[in-house]
Amino acid sequence: MEPRITALGDRALIIELADRIGDEAPSRIHQVCSWLSDARLPGVTELVPAATTVTVFYDPVALKETGAPKHDLAGWLSSRLTERLARLPEATALPPGRLIEIPVCYGGDFGPDLDSIATRAKRSPEAVVELHSGGEYVVLQLGFAPGFPYLHGLPEALRFPRLETPRTRVPAGSVAIANRQSCVYPSEIPGGWHVLGRTPLRLFQPDRKPPALLGPGDRVKFRPISPEEFDRWEDAS
């Protein structure tokens, strides 16, 4: 679809790039985001990508100071965005997202929901692990908690609604699934996703640069590891 630009109050414009998740490749949203970010448009303070949108935050005072007409600041910025989007290169001409491998120890105490998911999917736990770690995912967006990635690409056989009663505490590093997505808990927080395993990687550290291991548009592959390998990772970090 043609990008649609609408206002979110007096400090942001939303660029809608697709009507449904998956209509446009999730990676395309992030290519658009980088393309706009590289343009360093005047007055733009922050770009926040989500599954089908890029929200462009701006400072109205800065916009006016760069010469935008004060009676139509939003219209002026919207035109600049449209111009920039018109020159967006084809998807294939832009570099794909980084590929990041996430080691996961599946099942046992680390993956308390692996068996119940296996039962519901009418497969063995091993087959569930194979399915979950077989494909490639794309980071659709980060949100809910700092560094919490929503991963697009969950095989259809593993799509189930969230837990009826969310857990009050899900350990950091938990790798989980719900509905059409997978995720990794960056810190210990409450949550209602089905936990299949745990990664020894730390997804979010406020004092690290960048603080989040994964960024929007990154590609992710899960690699099954043994409990022994999990311990070695933990010891190393």
């Binding site: 109050g9 942001a12 406020p206």
Partner: protein
């Protein structure tokens, strides 16, 4: 150095927020009334984005070890310096060992206390604001408690004004074009058209009550329900301070400074930036009405306020 004798209900270190990391899911945060925070900082001789203290409902008691300049803005808290009233909206010079006591407030809910030199806590992701949910930033990622010791920074604002006691007080509320008590100016939100005709009418005509369910993340209102025209699932997208979401209950939530980065409920409206400060002063049981304005009107109001703010700053700089 500031010694915290009593932390108060929710006293946190804030600046103008953590910008540039929302794409990683990091909450922007910052002072719940950025305008009041900028004013307090200016009066204390700081840069506008210096870290200061934000208090809510019941304020802190603080001992200033060294001679300092402070200024506070916001709701009418009872405030004393060594037992004597501490005037609002002006720079005040404190002798070494002064004890500031902030009590409660009969109107409004929040106030901001700036200290010359700013509160010196480490920057985390380019900001000194406290992320209470993420437990980082500010003072150890949490609200202040008795026994905490806060460092005061060097004044690097380039303003060598020797702010002493002033015999005047600024009226920052005069710089905000108010539109009546209990009225908040709102633009239609991106999902406005999703709502039923009845809901659209109700939204701008009814009175909503501020519930007890409010914090820095947002405030729940109660009033006539605001149903969608037909059931519809929203695809999560970015939200902002002042966005009014309507969950399936039909009761609106106004998002606060510590809103999450992305939300999945239809956005019926967005509060104009000039009125964000009003949201910070909501008290449970109070009522609010939404007055519709267009984006360009919101911009005009904002530009006018910024111009008045610049004039006030220029005048004060001359008079100090």
């Amino acid at each position: 150095m500031i010694e915290v004798i009593r932390g108060g209900m929710l006293t946190t270190v804030q600046d103008l927020g953590r910008r540039g990391y929302q794409n990683l899911g990091v909450v922007a945060g910052g002072a719940a009334d950025p305008f009041a925070a900028r004013m307090a900082n200016f009066l204390a001789g700081n840069k506008e984005d210096a870290a200061l203290l934000e208090m809510a409902f019941a304020g802190p008691k603080l001992r200033f070890v060294k001679r300092s300049v402070v200024a506070w803005c916001g709701a009418d808290f009872t405030a004393t310096c060594d037992g004597k009233p501490l005037p609002k909206n002006r720079p005040v010079s404190l002798a070494a060992g002064s004890v500031l006591g902030f009590g409660g407030t009969k109107t409004g809910a929040m106030a901001w206390l700036a200290v010359g030199g700013g509160i010196d806590v480490p920057e985390v992701m380019d900001s000194r604001s406290t992320d209470l949910t993420g437990k980082f930033g500010g003072f150890e990622g949490r609200k202040l408690a008795a026994g905490d010791r806060l460092a005061i920074g060097q004044n690097d604002s380039g303003q060598s004004l020797s702010r002493g006691a002033a015999s005047w007080s600024l009226g920052p509320e005069r710089l905000v074009a108010v539109c009546g008590p209990g009225v908040v100016r709102v633009m239609r939100g991106p999902e406005w058209e999703w709502f039923s005709e009845g809901a659209k009418e109700t939204f701008f005509q009814s009175i909503f009550e501020v519930t007890k369910d409010g914090n820095r993340m947002g405030t729940r209102l109660s009033g006539p329900p605001l149903p969608l025209a037909e059931p519809r699932e929203m695809i999560s997208a970015a939200v902002d301070h002042g966005v009014i979401q309507v969950p399936p209950s039909g009761q609106p939530i106004i998002l606060g400074a510590d809103r999450q980065t992305i939300g999945g409920y239809p956005r019926i409206g967005v509060v104009a930036t000039v009125d964000l400060g009003k949201l910070a002063q909501f008290r449970p049981g109070e009522t609010v009405r939404f007055h519709e304005i267009q984006t360009h009107e919101a911009h005009e109001l904002l530009l006018r306020r910024e111009r008045d703010f610049s004039i006030a700053r220029a005048c004060l700089t001359l008079s100090l």
